[in-house]
Structure formats: C-alpha cells, structure tokens
Amino acid sequence: MSQINKSARQILAPILSNKRVGQYHQIIVSVGDIAAQCKPGNFVAISVGGESSRMVLRRAFAISRVSTSSTVGGTMELIVAPHGQGSKWLCAQGEGVTLDLVAPLGTAFGIPTEPVPVLLVGGGYGSAPLFGLAEILNSRGCRVDMILGASTGSKIYAPMEGKRSVNSMRIYTDDGSMGTAGRVTDPIAEIIKDLNVAVIYSCGPMPMLAAITKITSEHDVVHQCAVEESMACGIGICMTCVLPVSNEDGTVSMLRSCIDGPVMDGSKVQWQQVGTQL
C-alpha cells in the first residue's frame, strides 16, 4: 500500500509487566507479529486515559527493545517516565490491561554496513532506545561505546544488562551525583579522536542534539539523532511535529518528525531555526 507508515498496524495489546526502575517504569507489552517489524529508533503511539478520557491524543514513546522469541510471542519494551498526565496514566496500568497502540512508526537508526567504531549518546530517558540499538550494533561487530547524561543521577537510565553490549559506558550528571560532573557532550570530541568513531547515535533533548551536531560538523563523523518534538497524531496527518531540515538544493523544509523522523541526519537539521518562522 502506501509507503508512509508502511509497517504500522493498530492493535490491542495486553501489558505483560510493569516494573518501576528508579524514576522510570519498564513496561513490557505483548505485540505479536509487530515485534518483528520494529527497528531501533521506531516509536509507538498509545491511547491513554481509557474510554472516557479527556486526553484525545495518543502519546508517542520510543520502543526501547523488542523480543520475537519470548514464550508469549513478540513483546515490546517501553521505558516511560511518569511526566505528564498521559505517561502517568500509562505507568499506573498493571499487568493484563489492554493498550490500544499503533506501531512501528517513524524512521529507524541506520546500521553501518562495515563493523566500524560507534558512539551512543543518551540524554535522560532518551537513552532507552540506545540499548536495543547497542545489541544490534554489537552483533554486527561494531565497537560500541556509550555515554549517558542527565541533570541528576536518578534520571539516568542504565540497566545492568544493557552494559553487556557496550565496550564502555560513562555517565555525566549536571550535579555530579552520579558519574562525572559535567555535560554529556564534554568528552565527545576526544572520544571521536581516541576511538576513531565513524557514527554517533544520539537520543535526547534538542539542545543536546544540536550540541552534538556542532561537534560532528568539525569531524568526519555521521550523526544520526532521534528527535523529540510534541506530536498530536504520530502518523503524519497533523503537521504539528515539524522541524526545519535542509534539502539537497540548499532550501529548508519543515519535515514531520513522526514520518521523516524521529531518526534524522543531525547535519541536515537546522537547529538554530527550530521554533522560528521560515
């Protein structure tokens, strides 16, 4: 059918488990065949609030990991921070509750064809999809190093098993409560040189992605970033989640982060024009 949203399906999916992990919830959902279609970087759009909800819009969450081999069929893992009303509702739903979800949506991280050294950079809960990505990159023979940052230690998401797929993991917090005091972007230039990094994969707040793009522009490094922009629909029909992105001919277009993203080439996003009139 259509090329847009080409693998996406809307299903009713039961929650298999919902565990609190620090300030986050790890929610496992039974999604059947959809799991096999999900790639790192893709997201899921979930209805929140139940039948009589006054929340009319779906909530978009990065798919942190999928499994196609569990005993109950395909599963999807979400790492959710109970921030707003929608995510609080989701975090309060227990095992057995059925979710109305649409997945997989959006673009995925590109996997290098050669086993090159790569660096994964996560900000706050943005690190969630990087662990599934790390497993795939690792299985392709890439050297995977990871740096995570947040304002404070309790906002770092770094599960023990996630460390298995990475060569090294460093943590940076603004207040120094975990890892090194400082910004996650501080060591990037040095790591690029030391490890001969070919690709940076990033996920986190916009200022972090913009700062990484500035660093990669001074080195010969590809920057694939997963952007976060508020969305109403997640499927490309509302035009609210747009970002200024440069075209081949040098012009700039407002592209939808739901269907032309969330994974975008950082060097093409015109970060300084975000939130301005083109």
Binding site: A8, R54, A232, G275, T276, L278
Partner: protein, 321 residues
C-alpha cells in the same frame, strides 16, 4: 420515516449528495486532518469512506508557523499550523493523482490571502479530472483588508465565493467552510449561498490560546491556535442546527469534535448531510471507519431507511402542536 418500528429494516441508503456530487457514504476527512491521504491509506482503503477533503492548498509552497504548533486541552487540542503545504502545482501533480488512483472521492480545499488568489486556484482546478467538489476555506487572513479573516467579514466572504463561482462555471460544487467566530453565522451562510456556494462546511476551529505557566508566555509559536475536538462539539451542533433552520435546502458538511457514530448522528439530526472527522483521526487512525459503521447501525436502529431521512430530523415539529 417508518416510525412504527414493527419491521426492522436491514438495508440503508447511506449515500449523500452535495450539489451534483454523489458520495456512497456521508463520512469525510476534515481538511487539514488527513495531510495528503497517503498517511491514512495504511490503515484503511481511502475509497471506503465518503471522501477525502484535502488539506487547504494555496498558490505557493508554504512553510507554515513556527513550533510549538500544538497543545492538548481538555477534550480537545489547539493547533497553529499556518497552512503549511506544497502549493497548488505540486499538489495537482502528486497528491490528486494518488487519491484518484486509490479510487477515493476527492474534495479539494483551497485557501488564499486575496480574493484573486482563490479565483486563481479555482482556475487551476477547473480542468482537473477526478475531483468531486471544491471546499473554499475562507478562514484565512485577508491581506488586502488588514488581515481580517474573510469568514468574519460577510462582504469579503461573498466576494471570495462569487469569484470562485465565476471562475469554475457551474459544474463543480462549491462548499464554503465557515468560521464559528462570528456574531451572525446565518447571515454569512446566506451571503455565500447567494454568491454561489452549493454547500457549507461547518465549523472550522474556534480561536483559542494556551499560556505556558512555566515560561509565562503563549505556548504556541503562532500565539493563538484553532481549538478542535469534542470540546467544541456543542458549538458545532448549534451552528449546524441554526444554519439548517435558515437554509434547509443547502447541504451542510458538519464537523467539530465528532469521535463516535453517536456524535455523527447528532450532527446529522441537526441538519448535516455529511460529517467530517478531524481530531478523532489524530487519536485513532481508524476513527472514520468505526464512526461510519456505528452511524449506519444507529440509523438502522432508529428505523431510517436512508441517511437523507435523518438529515435535520431534530427540527421536526413536536407532535400534537
């Protein structure tokens, strides 16, 4: 209709007409809520609904307003997109052929900044095959009159529709999309019908604002935005009811927060010949399909044998009076 209720009708004529355009079902997308149509095609065949009302297109490509463009509100949302779009030439080259290929029925929505721009757009549509009707979105600022929205100015509304009517001749039905943000909707509706509109689309979004209490500034990049969703449904039902009472022969495409078959039926009873679904599709990509199925059943349950019998049924005199 058969009010006895002794025989259950199992067949229903679900079709509707706007001007000379016939649609097999009374369910449409709302302009600006289905993008090019391709996005929804993954979730259901576009030909299965009454028709696609395309996103309002202007003469030139347009980048639209800065972000943030959206704020969720209780039972609704505010949007401030600013008519981002590819411009009429790219739209006719890419989007219309796709919809025609999908065998979808197409209502093209146009928007302009001057009376002349609307006519120019209509001229480009005149010879395009596969279009069932034109929606004229007059909820745009008129750059020739201090940015006053056409739809809020009875004279400017009439001039836009008159210009489009003259340009396209008598063939293609014209649907004028009106704003609820006016003091006398009925007089504006009468004006555009006099000027040559075959149908009316009611209602466009309601102007609103959200202020972010952290930044303590308007949340949207465009400061104000259009409120949509169930929050505005009673306003839409009232608007459709009032306009249908004044213009019972004019088909109305009713919209504003329709999220279920019951909501759609309410709009039809108020006087709409068809319904458009917008914000509900944001929350549920298959909303139009479920609304369509529910509406059909609700009409059958009430003993109607055709959709047309139900149009404006809430206006019937109270028995015994």
């Amino acid at each position: 209709m058969a009010t006895g209720g002794y025989s259950v009708m199992s067949t229903l004529d679900f079709s509707t007409t706007i001007g000379n355009a016939w649609f097999p079902a009374p369910t449409f997308t709302a302009s600006g809520c289905a993008s090019s149509g391709r996005e929804l095609a993954q979730f259901f065949p576009l030909k299965d609904m009454g028709g696609v009302v395309t996103k309002s297109v202007m003469s030139k490509p347009r980048a639209g307003r800065p972000t943030p463009r959206m704020a969720e509100t209780p039972s609704g949302m505010l949007n401030s997109i600013g008519l981002q779009g590819p411009g009429i030439d790219a739209f006719l080259a890419k989007d219309v052929p796709y919809l025609v290929e999908q065998r979808a029925r197409v209502i093209v929505s146009i928007a302009g900044e001057t009376v002349e721009e609307y006519s120019t757009l209509a001229r480009k549509l005149r010879s395009v095959s596969g279009i069932s009707a034109i929606e004229v979105n007059i909820s745009c600022p008129n750059v020739e009159n201090r940015g006053l929205v056409f739809a809020c100015d009875p004279e400017a509304s009439r001039r836009v529709i008159d210009g489009v009517r003259r340009t396209i001749g008598g063939e293609l039905p014209i649907i004028a999309k009106l704003s609820p943000d006016v003091t006398d909707l009925v007089s504006i509706a009468k004006g555009v019908v006099d000027a040559g509109a075959d149908g009316l689309a009611l209602i466009n979004t309601v102007l609103g604002m959200v202020i972010n209490v952290d930044t303590m500034r308007p949340h949207l990049g465009g400061k104000t935005g259009g409120l949509s969703g169930p929050a505005i449904r009673p306003i839409a039902v009232r608007a459709v009811y009032q306009v249908h009472a004044a213009l019972p022969q004019t088909p109305i495409l009713g919209m504003g927060g329709i999220a279920s078959g019951k909501d759609a039926l309410e709009m039809i009873l108020a006087g709409a010949s068809g319904v458009s679904i917008g914000t509900a599709s944001f929350g549920n990509p298959t909303a139009i399909m479920s609304i369509q199925a529910e509406l059909k059943q609700l009409l059958l349950d009430r003993g109607f044998t055709s959709l047309k019998q139900a149009v404006g049924y809430a206006h019937r005199p109270i028995e015994g009076e």
